[in-house]
């Protein structure tokens, strides 16, 4: 399933890189510690987190993630959005909690990567 479809089904708000939503999502990962994401998230994964500072983009870009879902109504600041746009990393936001987003993603068949 593509990020665009996931975004539509979960009513996520696309904040950046609208041109990069066609990527096929290979799986999902959730955590708020960057080093954990660095260790476990795989290329093409969608990363669910409530962190929203620019380093989230650095991690996503280094790992070639499909995109980042920022939860609990956190709105990334301008620097984060600008960097994400520059690096072509889609950031999607939602009022839902990380738990709910991950649950919905699982229902839609997005697997966790062990």
């Amino acid at each position: 399933m593509t990020l665009e479809e996931l975004g539509r089904k979960l009513s996520l708000e696309v904040r950046t890189a609208t041109g990069k939503l066609g990527t096929e999502v290979t799986g999902g990962y959730a955590a708020d510690l960057l080093s954990c994401a660095m260790a476990k998230a795989r290329a093409g994964n969608v990363w669910v987190t409530l962190q929203s500072h620019p380093n989230v983009v650095a991690v996503a870009s280094l790992l070639n993630l499909a995109g980042v879902i920022v939860t609990e109504g956190m709105i990334p600041d301008a620097a984060t959005l600008e960097k994400a746009e520059e690096e072509g990393i889609p950031i999607l936001t939602t009022e839902l909690t990380t738990f709910t987003v991950v649950g919905r993603l699982f229902e839609l068949g997005v697997p966790g990567v062990e």
Partner: protein
């Protein structure tokens, strides 16, 4: 803000003078419409500028010709049927300006003049498309050549030991540029032809080393990546404060990061562990607990992946 494509950049970069047709067929005001018809047919064009004594005085198109034909006025001189004082473009204008002109005026072509208003070319939509395509093609070839050269550098250059060293300065507490050194090393390695698996391991190791310097050092440090046939060596060196107990620092979850840094998601105490997982060899030293030197070797042949 939508993503800006190379094509969009190009319409600002490319000048009208670079894409216009330079060999311009012109007619004089005295040329008859019948003669004009022959000229258009012969050159397979749909309009020409009208020039008198070297000066641009008008423009005449196939549309004017059809009107004259319908009115039975084919013997009339071009000077009577042409559009006077045509809208012109300048050679030094960006192509985007020409695109706007084609949108706002309903003309098929614009005469192009130089700084002294001398006619030097003609621009059609076709010229713009061709110019853009040509430029893109040239750039594509250049990128292919760069890539080829970069990935064959070790075969092209003969020495007893060849290596490329990339140096990056890392500034303490500079969160705005955090991850930039690793990101640059990542793209350099991709260009040098390293496999995605290797690039990933190097990216993770350098990112964690970079974050350690940003988060924990007093005055920043340097990260370098040395690429040699068969191996990549990453070195991260700083000037302090150093690690008092390396064994303790290597424990998963051990962290000295203050609360505010942890709230940002850093300082999980997993950085060194992540580096170790990606490394084939790892040496961490902090002589006299005053400064820190980290050396990570990643072998290129093993392709063993993260541990």
């Amino acid at each position: 803000m939508p993503e800006i494509t190379r094509l969009q950049e190009l319409v600002y970069e490319l000048k009208i003078g670079e894409v216009m047709t330079r060999e311009v067929v012109t007619v004089a005001p005295q040329t008859s419409m019948t003669e004009l018809r022959e000229i258009l047919r012969e050159h397979r064009i749909s309009g020409v500028p009208v020039v008198e004594n070297g000066e641009l005085v008008g423009i005449i198109s196939i549309e004017d010709l059809i009107k004259a034909l319908a009115a039975g006025e084919m013997e009339a001189p071009v000077g009577e049927k042409m559009t006077r004082d045509p809208v012109t473009l300048r050679t030094d204008g960006p192509v985007v300006l020409a695109i706007n002109h084609f949108t706002s005026y309903d003309f098929g072509r614009f005469p192009v003049v130089d700084g002294k208003r001398k006619l030097v070319g003609v621009l059609t939509r076709g010229d713009i498309i061709q110019g853009l395509l040509k430029k893109l093609e040239v750039e594509y070839h250049e990128e292919e050549i760069h890539r080829y050269r970069a990935s064959h550098i070790f075969e092209d250059i003969a020495s007893d030991r060849t290596s490329i060293v990339l140096h990056y300065d890392v500034v303490a507490r500079d969160f705005d540029h955090a991850g930039e050194a690793s990101s640059k090393i990542k793209s350099a390695l991709s260009r040098l032809g390293a496999s995605p698996q290797i690039v990933r391991r190097v990216a993770i190791a350098t990112y964690e080393a970079e974050m350690n310097i940003i988060l924990h050092t007093d005055e920043g440090g340097e990260i370098s990546a040395e690429v040699q046939p068969g191996r990549i060596t990453i070195r991260a060196v700083d000037t302090g404060p150093g690690i008092p107990d390396i064994e303790q620092a290597m424990q998963p979850g051990f962290s000295t990061a203050p609360e505010w840094i942890r709230e940002l998601g850093f300082g999980a105490g997993m950085g060194l562990i992540n580096i170790q997982r990606c490394a084939d060899e790892m040496r961490l030293e902090s002589p006299e607990s005053r400064w820190t030197s980290l050396e990570v070797v990643i072998a290129l042949d093993g392709e063993k992946g993260e541990k």
